[in-house]
């Protein structure tokens, strides 16, 4: 990573940007946000993901209410009557999956309609198709769900899978949000300070961040979670296996990553002319950091935050799958998939629904993060 002197930058776009930065910062900052908003609104995948994330958050918050509304027995209660003629757990009730199939087919058709050769269908078809698919899904749910015993079937303990998948969303988002928030605060603070103050301590911490970043952090994080699990507690009993360890481990790994990204951003911003101007006017360091540099790094960090949550949800599931994540009674998607592994050939529903929920969640956060990043980066050409 090197920051060359601006006059050597041959790329015309960058040069233009440099000149642009020479203008008063407030003038540049003001119109940038509406442009960002317009670009984001035009990104259909990002907007659809944002809507999905919103629905997911609502599902996570209101999981108990939803479970009650569809008449499901809840995530912990076993229903021994849900057996087939061999005494094995039963799959989804007949017809219970139609709402999902209708909505999936609608999404596929809406995507396909973007490539239709007829211009009006190409432009507006997706609105109509997704509207119809949504209404059809709701209608089918009203028709089939009240009579369904278990919408997604039951697991090997005869617990309702639908309730468990919903509660799994709750757990994933809870852990990912706490870990992401903690790592954002730690990473942002370190990144700002180390990037701005280039004294010997700052440079030393900067080097340490580089060294830590070069280590295989995922493997070490996995080892840390495992050591804590096998020792039945760690840090003198402060941390117990389960939620707390997963959050701490993920927050540690993420904050190193964020601190590094932030530091690089700050390093390039602090050489910009508007910062130089502020400094030559005798502005205090604190004021420069908060008023000149922080606004510039907050926007890119929004995109990173979404991408980091996506990674976190995956990592939480992976830890649970390996048996070192969330502890048993709570419903986590990874642990459900681990339980599904031995009965793969027969109980397909046990594998399908937690995995699909995991995939859709991660996909939505990834698309949202991509959208935010592209909207902020004027040099990315739109497809």
């Amino acid at each position: 990573m090197s920051i060359g002197p601006p006059e050597l930058v041959a790329d015309s776009e960058t040069a233009a940007q440099e000149q642009f930065d020479g203008v008063d910062a407030t003038e540049v900052g003001a119109p940038a946000l509406p442009l960002f908003g317009r670009r984001l609104l035009a990104d259909r995948a990002a907007m659809a993901s944002a809507a999905f994330v919103l629905v997911l958050v609502l599902i996570a918050i209101f999981a108990p209410l939803i479970v009650k509304a569809v008449g499901a027995p809840g995530p912990y209660a076993a229903d021994p009557s849900a057996r087939d003629q061999f005494g094995d757990p039963t799959g989804p009730s007949p017809g219970a999956l139609w709402p999902f199939i209708a909505m999936l087919a609608g999404a596929a058709l809406a995507t396909a309609s973007r490539f239709a050769p007829v211009p009006p269908i190409k432009r507006y078809g997706w609105v109509l198709i997704s509207g119809i698919a949504f209404l059809a899904g709701v209608a089918l749910a009203i028709a089939f769900w009240p009579s369904a015993h278990h919408i997604f079937g039951v697991d090997k303990e005869f617990r309702d899978l639908f309730s468990r998948v919903l509660y799994g969303a709750r757990l994933s988002l809870e852990v990912a949000a706490i870990a992401a928030a903690a790592s954002l605060i730690i990473g942002l603070t370190f990144g700002l300070l180390v990037g701005y103050f280039r004294g010997s301590v700052g440079v030393a911490i900067s080097r340490l961040i580089d060294a830590l970043f070069a280590l295989p952090l995922l493997l070490l994080a996995l080892g840390m979670a495992a050591a804590c699990k096998l020792a039945r507690g760690c840090l003198g009993g402060v941390l117990h296996p389960g939620l707390a360890v997963v959050i701490v481990v993920i927050a540690l790994v993420n904050s190193i990553f964020i601190a590094r990204v932030m530091r690089d951003q700050v390093l390039s911003l602090r050489e910009k002319r508007f910062v130089e101007t502020a400094r030559s006017l005798g502005t205090s360091n604190a004021r420069i950091i908060f008023r000149e540099i922080l606004p510039g790094v907050l926007a890119p960090i929004a995109g990173y935050a979404a991408l980091i949550i996506a990674q976190d949800v995956l990592f939480i599931a992976a830890l649970s799958y390996l048996g070192i994540g969330i502890q048993f009674p709570r419903a986590s998607w990874g642990a459900m998939l681990a339980d599904a592994n031995p009965v793969l050939g027969t109980a397909w529903w046990y594998m399908l629904f937690p995995g699909a929920a995991l995939l859709l969640t991660v996909l939505a956060f990834n698309l949202l993060g991509d959208g935010l990043r592209d909207a902020l980066n004027p040099r990315v050409s739109r497809p």
Binding site: L220, L230, A231, C234, L314, Y321, L322, G323, W348, M351
Partner: protein, 320 residues
Amino acid sequence: MTRYVIRRVLWVIVLLFGVISVTFVIFYLFPSGDPAVLRAGPHPTPQLLATIRHRLGLNKAWYVQYFDYLKALILHFDFGFSYQTHIAVRTQIFNRLPATISLAVGAAVLSLITAITIGTIAALRRRSPLGRLATGGAVVAISAPVFWVGMISLYLFATDIGKLAILPGAGSYVPLTHNPGKWFASLIMPWCVLAAGFAAASARLMRSSLIETLGKGYVSTARAKGISERRVIVRHALRVAIAPVVTAAGLGIGVLLAAAILTETAFNIPGIGRLTYDSIQVGDLPTMQGTVLLGACLVVVAKLVVDVVYALIDPRARSR
């Protein structure tokens, strides 16, 4: 070049030291239980505990323990003994290394080839349905949990439980030296599953890198010279565009190994990943520690190799 290699090697030694130290903190200082009890297994006898305390020097100060730990590791390559099988962890790991290397190297090669092909198509046919399909498919592949993809593909294609039984399923791994044909067949599914996510990530990078390169002045110059478009892309653009993809792939080796643990678990391949999983299930701390330590060191060394090879290809990398 020699100076560059020496600098990289010194840096790797620092990193290896870091890995060893972090592992010491994680496995010796971090857990709150008595380390001797943790290493003695489910039925510790006072005699066994005393032996372990003596051998690990657990009544000494932590820096003496750290020094002993370093000495055992560096001089004797000693990772301790698994209490489950009473075999040296070192032997256990080396027995399982070939399977993990087969899986990881195969998946890495497969993912790079796929990524460069798909990324190039996506960049050249940006606005076509095919290009958009590749771009959209890549996001889905990145978001899919590798163990779930493994389970789905077993459900679909494995000979024992699959709906379309065409490939050997879980637990069918045979070493290369026993039967190369069966070795290859048993690894087809794990390779594809492990490679998918990495291929997608690299393909996205390849796409944006090639798009950027195609806008550069020297590509226009090459076109202006009147040489064929095919030659412009292959000779002038691709060669430059691949560089960041290879760098990123080198940085992703750690993630690849972590994903290999999950893949080995899903496909029941007797490699280091499966060893890690099994040692977690039975609470075998020494084995767990050994696999994490060795895995982390392997990643650091593999990155060195990638860096040096890259510097051989591209002289500009040496000055960085």
